[in-house]
């Protein structure tokens, strides 16, 4: 019993480490007015057009050749000796932290953590800026944070290593001119399943709906996050993931309500454990969980598979931002540039288990990591991805979700 409880707590910690509550929070990312202004056209655009903003993993020639260039030069500003980082838990490698402190002589490295974008926003609203230097919001949140004056515009001349950032992460609708954010990691929403129990090949949302309602009825889960769950029925019918069309949403509603009786759980917190125990064997979830299960030290969950559905899905991006009134701006700039050093990024990716937005880091990663669909989306599937914009203000979606939750 003690052992089981301990295991459960460990699993819970890991579930948090996978930090995938954020899409829930990304979904209410706010700034819908701002977004509506910026992405009004993408809402009505054809899916293919939305997909064109998907990241391209093919690293540019220039970036990869520069990866082996001279180490990052020391910054020409006096360092303050301290850095205060506000980040998701387990989202920055302790090895890298030590390297950074040694290399730059930073005696105090404070790493406080939060569990959701909402918590970050609330913290800044409640206690103001001036406490932390750097934070890591999901891209959807950057617009809100910038509108509330919680962010500093970045001085790009102090961040030469931004050259390694994949171009497709530049000019996202949440920060069209890349004034505030530096892309950190990215991932997708897709289909996760236990290969030992699910013999079928699952390629699409259609397969997911068909199997969930028949063979794996009562053994299927979805994450507790409307922004992600709506993707499945909408893409199943070929609609834009950000649609506000009431007819299309009504079709999505019917699909969701038909799926509801067959679900084992609607849960974002414990679902890795649920999959481990095979209480559910099929799920709509995030890629990071699949990677965590595959690489579990016990090896018992290595059969876990992850699919980017062929009918299309969404991707998310986490970003580094420099907070307004940062008490240690010089160290912060040094950090933000240093962290994009490809060798540092490799350590970072292997620690967190997510795909880096840094082009130059990918070729340096082990092949089984860089080619794992649970980490990096294969190049030929990138056209399946679109950017999700904030839909939390849509009353029809909110109503459908409440009805879906109630069952």
């Amino acid at each position: 019993m003690d052992e089981a409880l301990r295991q459960y707590q460990l699993d819970l910690a890991r579930a948090q480490l996978s930090r995938r509550r954020f899409m829930t929070l990304a979904a209410f990312g706010g700034a819908s007015a701002f977004l509506a202004a910026c992405s009004g056209s993408s809402t009505t655009s054809a899916p293919s057009e939305a997909a064109s903003s998907a990241p391209s993993a093919a690293p540019s020639e220039a970036a990869s050749s520069e990866a082996s260039a001279a180490p990052t030069p020391a910054p020409s500003y006096e360092l303050e000796g301290e850095l205060d980082l506000y980040n998701w838990s387990g989202y920055f490698s302790p090895d890298n932290q030590k390297t950074f402190q040694d290399q730059f002589g930073i005696a105090n490295f404070i790493y406080d953590s939060y569990a959701s974008n909402e918590e970050l926003l609330t913290k800044l609203k409640a206690s103001g800026t001036g406490q932390y230097d750097i934070a890591v919001p999901t891209a959807e949140f950057v617009a809100t944070l910038a509108a509330d004056n919680f962010l500093q515009r970045l001085d790009k001349s102090r961040l030469p290593n931004l050259q390694y950032i994949n171009k497709q992460f530049k000019g996202m609708p949440f920060d069209p001119n890349d004034e505030y954010l530096i892309p950190k990691d990215w991932g997708t929403t897709g289909i996760i399943y236990r290969g030992n129990k699910v013999s079928e090949t699952i390629a699409s949302w259609k397969d997911f709906f068909d199997l969930a309602k028949t063979k794996y009825s009562g053994k299927t889960l979805v994450v507790d996050s409307p922004g992600d769950v709506f993707v499945a029925p909408l893409r199943l019918h070929g609609f834009d993931v950000n649609t506000a069309d009431s007819g299309e949403l009504e079709i999505a509603r019917q699909e969701l309500l038909a799926l509801r009786p067959h679900l084992q759980s609607i849960d974002s917190d414990n679902y890795p454990t649920t999959l481990q125990k095979e209480e559910a064997v099929l799920g709509l979830a995030w890629n990071g969980t699949a990677y965590l299960l595959q690489t579990d030290s016990s090896g018992k969950y290595a059969d876990t598979k992850y699919t980017v559905p062929t009918d299309g899905t969404i991707f998310w991006t986490d970003t580094w931002v420099l907070l307004a009134d940062a008490p240690h701006p010089n160290v912060a700039y040094a950090f933000l540039d240093w962290i994009q050093d490809p060798k540092i990024q490799v350590v970072e990716s292997l620690y967190a288990g997510y795909a880096s937005c840094n082009d130059a880091a990918k070729p340096l990663l082990p092949a089984d990591f860089a080619n794992n669909p649970a980490v990096y989306v294969p190049d030929n599937e990138l056209n399946l991805l679109s950017i999700a914009t904030d839909q939390s203000g849509n009353q029809q979606r909110a109503d459908i979700w409440a009805e879906f939750k109630q069952g």
Binding site: L25, E118, T144, Q264, I266, D399, W401, A402
Partner: protein, 276 residues
């Protein structure tokens, strides 16, 4: 001097109870700001849409009432035993009753996930019946979690009233020819009554707003008012809609509890019923 001593409590009451309630009431007439939150307005729409989907309210009421009744049925014999039969072991039993409170509410509820899940009773029943028995994710799991967590809140008030039960009254009743049932109905029950009312209110009120137990044991499929509020405030960030539901919840509770007190005290005028 008295006013000085009363100052902290008054401050507490005004700033941390009355003021937030007023804010919630004001918010409930507003509209959702474009990027979420509250924007001043005066509309009854938030209340109007409530009636559209009363499901979570009825589920909460059902769970709270059945949970309270189950707690009464379980607590009474237990409290009666401790108060009248346990003699020397009384202290030990009371301590055992308190010990679970030393652990976090959250941990106790999470451990129920293991006990009721596929490694526990759920798995056992599945093997026994040869079918896939799921306890987690149902109303039953939530009911079990609720009764487990709230039972002591019922046992203690009932125990305190039973403790004061004068045994000679029972003997007198017997001497006068009353049977066991008549004695229970005419002596024990009236004495325990205040304890049962106190316990019921202590259990019923937090049950109506319960969020943690359904969130953990319900697998996200049991949807009570607490979960609706969470969704409104955090997911769709529609604070006015959430505020309207919170105000309605307060009104529903006020009406339910007032009716309960009125009904249970009817015809008992003259008898002092203390709440605690």
């Amino acid at each position: 001097m008295t006013s000085l001593l009363m100052a902290p409590a008054t401050f507490w009451y005004l700033v941390l109870l009355v003021l937030p309630l007023v804010i919630v009431a004001i918010y409930s007439f507003g509209v959702r700001a474009p990027d979420g939150g509250y924007q001043p307005a005066f509309t009854f729409d938030n209340y109007g849409t409530l009636l559209k989907r009363p499901g979570p309210f009825t589920s909460s009421l059902l769970i709270a009432i059945s949970g309270t009744i189950l707690c009464v049925l379980l607590a009474f014999p237990f409290a009666y035993f401790i108060a009248t039969r346990a003699t020397k072991r009384k202290g030990l039993l009371l301590v055992l009753l308190v010990i679970p409170f030393w652990t976090s509410f959250l941990i106790r509820t999470i451990s129920l996930v293991i006990i009721l899940g596929s490694d526990g009773i759920g798995g056992f029943l599945s093997n026994l019946t040869g079918q896939n028995v799921q306890i987690l994710g149902t109303m039953w799991a939530v009911l079990i979690g609720i009764v487990y967590n709230y039972l002591p809140l019922m046992i203690f008030p009932v125990y305190v009233t039973l403790e004061r039960l004068d045994r000679t009254l029972l003997e007198a009743s017997k001497d006068l020819g009353a049977g066991r049932w008549a004695t229970f109905r005419q002596i024990t029950l009236p004495i325990v009554w205040p304890g049962l009312i106190t316990g019921s209110i202590l259990v019923f009120i937090p049950l109506m707003g319960e969020y943690v137990v359904p969130a953990i044991l319900g697998n996200g499929k049991v949807f009570l008012i607490g979960n609706v509020l969470q969704l409104d405030f955090l997911s769709s960030r529609d604070w006015p809609a959430g505020s309207a539901k919170a105000v309605s919840l307060i009104l529903v509770m006020l009406i339910t509890v007032s009716f309960y007190l009125w009904a249970t005290n009817r015809g008992r005028r003259g008898r002092e019923v203390s709440l605690l």
